[in-house]
Amino acid sequence: MVGGSTTGDDGSKAPSAEQPGHPAAEPWPLWEVFVRSSRGLSHVHAGSLHAPDADMAVRNARDLYTRRNEGVSLWVVPASSIISSDPDAKGQFFESPQGKDYRHATYYTKSEGVKHL
């Protein structure tokens, strides 16, 4: 990696507990931010931030993620409340649908006489 990295992105240089960026060195908890870009659409994950509490998290989200007219509504969720699938379990979780084309509508041929499908 050019210039090196202390972010730990490559796993080889994870910051130590005393360094900024390490969860143990963060006084504020992590929050996940969801932005709804306009009425009728869903909230979409935009990123994360640190904040001391929920009220400040919404305000920080406003400052970080809606500066360019991105949204009409914000959700913030404590990152610790999100249960995610196991990245090492991709096989069990996500490979099963492969080869099961019959789960898609396009697998089926249109019956004669059905005009506007």
């Binding site: 640190h50 904040a51 001391p52 400040m56 305000r59 400052d63 500066r67």
Partner: protein, 274 residues
């Protein structure tokens, strides 16, 4: 009423009045209105310059961005007010921001005060945002269409600045022993500069229906501060007011240093663009 003046009052989310619109407008304020706009613009400009210092120095990245956003909002307000004021004398917003000397600035002493620690900056933010909020809320009804339009855009932004400051006052005051000590100290250092904000003078009383009389803003300011301080278990400090005079160009020792940093590039390279 000219076409451009009419458009200055049309404020919708997609059609907010921009400083560029004001600069291009042919609405020329009287010198008195120009002087008044200078006061409003200079407060915003000097505050923005002070707040900009926090970029990369705030306690957390998120606060860097929050204070930076507030500073940028203030620069936007300053540009609008100065662009408008400039029409009174055939000057641009840059002429006024970069090529005036210390005694030509009309900002209050409060915005010149040092940032200090985060708590002191928050105390200053509390006072200035509370003042600007009630000021712009009334200026929206000004008989001067351009001032009213600038205020209509600015009031929503300043409302957020006010909320930001109030949230932090509560958290610092009710947080740890150390954070409480710091916000109390910040408030003590800030309060001597409150009085100047609400002083009337001949200029504003002469602009009845156009300018907002500062003394009219005091009751709302006191009520809002008292309710916040009650919640935060703080006391409004009884401190003597500092000598003001900012509106007449008499400033504290801080303004010269602020201007030196803010103006050096423009003065070294007049007319430079990038």
């Amino acid at each position: 009423m000219s076409e451009s003046n009419a458009s200055a009052t049309r404020i919708t989310p997609g059609n907010a009045l921009r400083p560029e619109d004001i600069a291009a407008s042919d609405v020329k304020p009287s010198e008195a209105v120009g002087e008044y706009a200078l006061r409003l613009g200079d407060d915003a400009l000097i505050l923005a310059q002070r707040l900009g210092w926090w970029i990369s120095r705030a306690p957390e990245l998120e606060e860097d961005v929050a204070l930076g956003n507030i500073a940028l909002d203030q620069i936007g307000h300053a540009r609008s007010f100065l662009a408008y004021a400039g029409h009174a004398w055939g000057k641009t917003e840059d002429d006024l921001a970069y090529f005036r000397g210390e005694d030509e600035f009309r900002s209050c002493h409060l915005v010149e005060q040092p940032n200090g620690d985060f708590a002191r900056t928050i105390a200053r933010q509390l006072v200035i945002s509370q003042y600007q909020f009630t000021l712009y809320a009334r200026l929206m009804n000004s008989g001067d269409a351009t001032l009213a339009a600038i205020a209509a855009k600015a009031v929503k932004e300043v409302d957020y600045h006010r909320d930001h400051a109030r949230q932090w006052v509560l958290r610092l005051a009710l947080g740890t022993e150390e954070s409480r000590r710091r916000i109390i100290e910040g408030i003590l250092l800030t309060w001597p500069y409150v009085g100047e904000l609400f002083e009337d003078d001949e200029l504003v009383t002469g602009l009845d229906g156009v300018a907002v009389r500062p003394s009219d803003l005091r009751p709302a300011f006191d009520t809002d501060i008292e309710s916040l301080f009650a919640e935060a278990e703080l006391e409004v400090p009884a401190v003597p007011f500092a000598v003001g005079g900012g509106r007449n160009g008499h400033h504290s020792e801080h303004l010269g240093y602020i201007l030196a940093e803010m103006q050096v590039l423009a003065r070294e390279h007049p007319g430079a663009t990038w």
